[in-house]
């Protein structure tokens, strides 16, 4: 881990404008131009988040469901634009690894690999060099030209995992995505590769509910609750803090 900054997040806020679905129709606007129904409801999904991630750091983000973790990842990715005054600086190519990631179900594994690789900045020659490795690792040699939608969910997971570990990006945003997919054999193999080589020296932001991986790998953890930054620090201190979020508003008795 070096002291160079890979991701800088300052005063990050994100407000979603919830527009009534009907108001987005031309018909409604023409028929009822002054209706109060068209008012925009605002929801603050993220409120003043501050942190930096250094190059080579394994950074964790934890929080309850719906607390804004995925919104935060999307803001870092750049697919969501944060509110005015927010600063998000990132260094280099970013890829997001999630379970529903980056494949067009109607295309073959071959085309999907080429498209994903190309968008990440690899030339076709470079993709060609690692193509066999990707397919071989995913154990899908016989199905390279079959549309991905015909894969079983296990095969899809294997392919995703294999593309992910071969992807050459500078920053990896992992949204509930971690080693250990597929059958027992593949699970062993993938976990091993993941822990031994993938994690080594990469800049990773990991969003998860699995506290074990956080404890084992993360250098620092950010805890979010209802869009607000609750804590930032070593996992040993943050995990109890995260647990206390649940006891504070205890679940209603059934």
């Amino acid at each position: 881990m070096s002291n160079e900054v890979a991701i800088e997040v300052k005063n990050l806020s994100k407000t979603f404008a919830m527009i009534n679905k009907e108001s987005r129709q031309l018909r409604e606007k023409l028929l009822r131009p002054f209706s109060t129904k068209h008012k925009v409801k605002e929801i603050k999904a993220l409120d003043n988040i501050n942190f930096t991630v250094n190059k080579g750091e394994f950074f964790g983000i934890i929080g309850k469901n719906g607390c804004g973790k995925s919104t935060l990842l999307n803001c870092i990715m750049g697919s969501l634009r944060p509110d005015k005054g927010s600063i998000v600086n990132t260094e280099g190519k970013i890829i997001r690894l999630a379970l529903g990631m980056g494949f067009d179900p109607n295309l073959s594994a071959r085309d999907n690999i080429y498209i994903n690789g190309s968008i990440l900045g690899l030339t076709f020659r470079e993709i060609g060099d690692i193509f066999d490795n990707i397919v071989e690792f995913a154990e899908l040699e016989r199905f390279v030209d079959v549309p991905v939608k015909q894969y079983s969910s296990g095969m899809q997971a294997k392919l995703k995992f294999s593309v992910a570990i071969h992807a050459k990006a500078d920053i990896f945003l992992m949204d509930e995505f971690f080693g250990g997919v597929g059958d027992i054999n593949f699970r062993k193999k993938s976990t091993k590769v993941f822990n031994d080589t993938f994690l080594d020296g990469r800049t990773i932001v990991h969003v998860t509910h699995q506290l074990e991986t956080i404890k084992k790998h993360c250098q620092r953890v950010l805890v979010i609750d209802q869009g607000k930054q609750v804590g930032l620090g070593h996992p040993d201190e943050m995990i109890p803090l995260y647990a206390s979020l649940f006891t504070k508003h205890a679940a209603p008795k059934i």
Binding site: R24, L97, D104, D111, T123
Partner: protein, 265 residues
Amino acid sequence: MINTLLRPILERIPENNRVERIWKLAQVDFKKRYYNDKLGLFWALLNPLFKIAIYYMVFTFVFQINIEHYAIFLFAGLILWMAWTEASTKGLSLINTKRYLIENIKFNHIDLYISLTISVFIGFAFNLAAYLVFVAAVGIPFTFNLLYMPLILINVFILCIGSAMILTVIQIYFKDIKHLWAIITLAGFWSSGIFRRGELFLEAFPPLRVINPFVGIVMNMRAISFDGIGPDWSLMGINYATGIVVLIVGIISYKKFSHKAIEML
């Protein structure tokens, strides 16, 4: 198969990540449309040939229109118009169909619009080839004026990219734009001088030369390939101006508003 045909050209282009990416996206879009690779291309070729043959029979035997080569005259306008409506209508749903990429990797989205237009133009190339084959088959001589063709194609190309981007932005605020769009394209279709000579339309309603660039585009297409004369340069100028304005408005508005569209996916 398209790749095999184009390989000699592609191999000479220096390796460029962006060019490769745009080409690949266009290629898979086209491939998806005509699914199986080898037979797919066969259908892509046959489709326009059959279409033009049907027009030919309908207008000579059913309607008995006594204008010479009317079917070919019609086809010249039709293929240009269809290319544009296809590109713009697909542009409406582009961020939805390419959601799997937009949400997971950071890149310049204009690549998607360029590749969409290229994939439409691959199909258009088959139509154009069928058109030229028929022009030659009925004995209309080719002249050097045919060399102006690329100018017309580039004009349509930038119109396609620009209008696809503008439509993406409009549908953020008006989600039902596709219904209105179907009506607008229908109005455009009947005012583009596809079924009759564009000159008649311009005489009846001169502002049309600015409002609907396809009147001029179709007229010029027929001039160079059908009549064997040079294009009308003033119309060409107006059409290019429209195309460039549409493209610039498209790119600027997309840059400014597209994040909202992605938020609402």
